[in-house]
Point group: C2
Chain length 399, copies 2
């Protein structure tokens, strides 16, 4: 019945297809086994040799310690995905990823995601790529919006218990979200938990960004004062509406993710100066730094509680341990002839509506509040006024 | 002879395997067709919507023009690969990639390459990934070392003729190499061709880097003066030798690649201020800028020729066209209380051997020359001394 040799040809074809498929799959799978101990050995096959070299260079004392840390990345978009990739390549112990978006072709102007991932959830696509890059890292991904009530509770629980050793809190939370509600949710969670976190953002016109370290009780939280931004001069008519999207650039996102993860490495591995605030103005290549104390009248009662705790801790601290703080030097003059240029003039800043805190040139608040409060930093915050909040939210959506 | 149903089972197995293979291959192939006209339409499927939004934001007048440019990236390592990816995602017209290295697992601590690419040539692996990311970009890759005589001639030819329109020169050459010989080869080629280029580099201890714009005849070339670096204080004992490698970090590489491509976009698309020199000191989050005039006694006669051409062009230029240059402001005082901190003190700088040019705090030359020359910037350069060159090369290999 069957033509002669048909069986043999089919058997051969099955073998060929199996081999080709195995080759295809091998091409995508992680090409290396897990590595149980980080080594400084200089061989082509050691993915950690260039990182362990930081010890010989005198930059980091104990690089291997990176494997003991857990970092939560909230928002796996233009900044968050690159942030997660950098931490993965650095050999972080565990990453928690939170996002509820899907990959779209419209995201292809930023690094990390690839067109064939369009339609997948961002956390799922990211986990797949990151596991291939470094199978030594542990991943825990959550495909949900942290701002809904149930999810927020779960988010709080995972921040409190999701470290490498289940039941212990994560070491750091990184905010890489693109909207006001999500930033406020992270701020609320971290104030309640006393969780140290870093915030990041890029302006809607794609040419400025910033990172900020928030130590509850020690530095200003997101409810203490409006978030600071590098002045971007966005025209009101460009604000987000139907059929209009924010601009973004892989360059600005890459620089901000690099500044963020550099700050994370400095904080976790204890080298260099950890920045409280670092801005990036791409138009003039201007990078302002500063720090801001918390607001004793902050609307978030957990922030006020953390401030009390911090004061007690500081008072109990032996004097010789007091380290020179960054804010003690940021307001000195610069005698070295380096020119820093701002997009907005001092007059423009003064002409802005509402009270404006003392800020270095080129840094501005993301919004100003048209109320009678004398000092925005120490005054009542906006969360207590319904109307202001709406206005703020509209403006913050465009950050 | 054959067991019953064996033929049918084999046929079904072949169909299953073919489908699985097609799925695997589809997963890796470019998931989108070519796009012939960049559109600003805001849809999930438009990979250019966020870039075209730069026009509505008032940042870039004519974003589509990016498709007319050709950029050559020399060195596809930690900086070059990310640089190529950023340009690809931005929709550059054509990329020329030059490298002769293979991907190794030891490269996995930087962005871009993945473990399954280990063993492939860097240009081949990069081209494959970049084509998947953006099939609208044209690629031309050369898997060779540009410093050998034959290859150098071919490199010169491709720089002169490799634009989108064959026979026209590329718009920009980007140096992303990691050694002195390759930098000198690019410098020689660009001086001879009058080709504008940008240089980039990261220090051996992974915590500082820089980018530099070189316009032959207008700004200092690589032979005019030693390259500037952000002071890194590398101990001599850490220099490269058998069994020892340079440290590197995805963060520093990402920031430098971002600064480089941002400068490229500003230069090509005519927005913001193009930086002549931008440094990055990761330890203190310090980003010095400056610019340097060419050396009238430069050892490269093509540089001196370009200087003459530039002078003639400037003299012939109508006065109203003269644009305020960056160097006219970089030496003014900063009155805004922003503190810039350097790793090296002025005393340390003065105590360094050899003459030192006037540089902003925190920027240093990559080496100083123990000769009797009064002014390094305007004096004879090191390329004319055999012994100095060797010394320089040893030091430059560690950049």
């Amino acid at each position: 019945m069957a033509e002669p040799g048909r069986l043999e040809r089919l058997e051969r074809r099955v073998r060929e297809l199996q081999e080709e498929l195995a080759r295809e799959k091998r091409g995508r799978a992680a090409a290396r086994a897990r590595i149980h101990t980080m080594s400084a050995e200089v061989t082509d096959s050691n993915p950690y040799s260039r990182l362990m070299a930081l010890k010989r260079m005198g930059i980091v004392k104990d690089y291997e310690k990176i494997r003991t840390f857990t970092v939560a990345v909230v928002g796996v978009g233009g900044i968050g995905s690159v942030t997660a990739e950098m931490l993965t390549r650095c050999g972080i112990g565990k990453l928690l990823l939170f996002d509820y978006d899907k990959v779209e072709l419209a995201n292809m102007n930023r690094l990390f995601f690839q067109p064939h991932q369009a339609g997948l959830s961002k956390v799922q696509a990211a986990e797949h790529t990151l596991r291939d890059i470094n199978p030594d890292v542990q991943f825990e991904v959550h495909n949900y919006n942290i701002t809904t009530l149930d999810n927020f509770e779960h988010f709080m629980d995972r921040i409190s218990n999701g470290a490498l050793e289940e039941g212990k809190p994560v070491d750091l939370v990184l905010s890489c979200v693109d909207n006001f509600e999500a930033r406020m949710a992270i701020n609320t969670a971290c104030n309640e938990l006393g969780q140290i976190w870093m915030e990041s953002g890029v302006s809607e016109n794609a040419v400025s960004g910033h990172i900020q370290l928030i130590i509850p009780g020690e530095s200003a939280c997101f409810a203490c004062a409006p978030p600071l931004v590098v002045a971007a001069n966005i025209d009101e008519k460009t604000l987000k509406r139907e059929g209009v999207c924010a601009a973004s650039l892989p360059t600005t996102m890459g620089v901000v993710a690099g500044m963020l993860v550099q700050n994370v490495l400095k904080y976790l591995l204890n080298f260099g100066t950890v920045s409280y605030y670092l801005g990036y103005n791409a138009m003039q290549d201007f990078f302002p730094t500063m720090s801001m104390k918390p607001n004793p009248q902050c609307s978030d009662h957990n922030c006020r509680k953390q401030q009390e705790n911090y004061k007690k801790k500081e008072a109990a601290r032996p004097k010789e341990e007091v380290i020179e703080k960054e804010e003690e030097i940021v307001h000195e003059d610069n005698d070295w002839g380096i020119e820093l240029v701002s997009e907005i003039s001092e007059d423009e800043l003064k002409a802005a509506s509402g009270p404006v805190p003392e800020l270095p040139e080129g840094i501005s608040v993301a919004y100003t509040i048209p109320d009678t409060d004398e000092n925005l930093i120490t005054g009542e915050t906006v969360a207590e006024s319904e109307e202001s909040l709406e206005e703020l939210m509209a403006k913050m959506r465009n950050m």
